[in-house]
Point group: C2
Chain length 149, copies 2
């Protein structure tokens, strides 16, 4: 396997509207997508766009911030926020070309894949790998969107 | 201020050589820079290169992983590792055009800037902002390198 693009950093927040205001007003984000509920993860989610290398300030194409607010306390992100009430970096997401091959790859390396591949926030298939097998980072593996998101 | 490029994600590790092997052998990184000691932060540091959007697998230009191994237990990263012995995501780093203007901006927003700007791992001036003022994320602000790093 060759390393793919870092699609996004998942950032948990107790208040997604306050976080959007922070990224716009303090950090100067120019483009933030509309929040929507991702039922399978029990989160409200939106993306903060960032410029890529060589891109003008305020443009898109760089690694995104994925803001995540739990819709239920009894959910993965809800439990994470209990321990980290301010929010913060929750996971890192890497793109792969083929989700089935990627799952087989990580399993062959002895990495614990958490559940079966399912549809993620970008509409492509994703799975998570256990942080204890990944240098302490909860890691999302995501099939690369075929068009720019 | 307009949001700049996400330069890197700082990832603390108790063993930088093991982490380099992980990124190369498990994640498939093609380019990892040679580790060096950054005395001001009391860390050994290197960068895992990642492709940018549209870039082929194994190319560079995307947000980097900055691996950080403390050279002393009594250091910021050393203390962080005491609480997180496996390592993991330690900070996020954003590029700005002008470090002096950026410091004034964050201070005017009531954000706690941690110390004076100093030379960072990319050779440009950097400072950190307190995680409690930044949605739970320790945030590095870095003057953009004038040439590709």
């Amino acid at each position: 396997m060759k390393l793919g693009r870092m699609n996004h950093i998942g950032v948990a927040t107790p208040d997604i509207e306050a976080s959007i205001a922070f990224y716009k007003e303090v950090m100067g984000a120019q483009v933030v997508t509309e929040p929507f509920v991702l039922e399978s993860q029990k989160v409200r989610v939106c993306f903060v766009e960032t410029p890529q290398q060589g891109g003008a300030l305020g443009t898109t194409g760089g690694t995104q911030i994925e803001l995540l607010q739990p819709t239920e306390a009894d959910s993965a992100v809800g439990k994470w926020l209990e321990k980290n009430p301010l929010g913060g970096q929750h996971h890192i997401c890497w793109e792969v070309e083929d989700i089935t091959e990627a799952k087989a790859w990580f399993e062959a390396q002895g990495k614990r894949v958490l559940g079966e591949p399912r549809v993620g926030a970008h509409g492509t298939m994703i799975f998570f790998v256990h942080p204890k097998d990944m240098g302490g980072q909860l890691t999302e593996i995501m099939e690369r969107p075929r068009e720019a998101h």
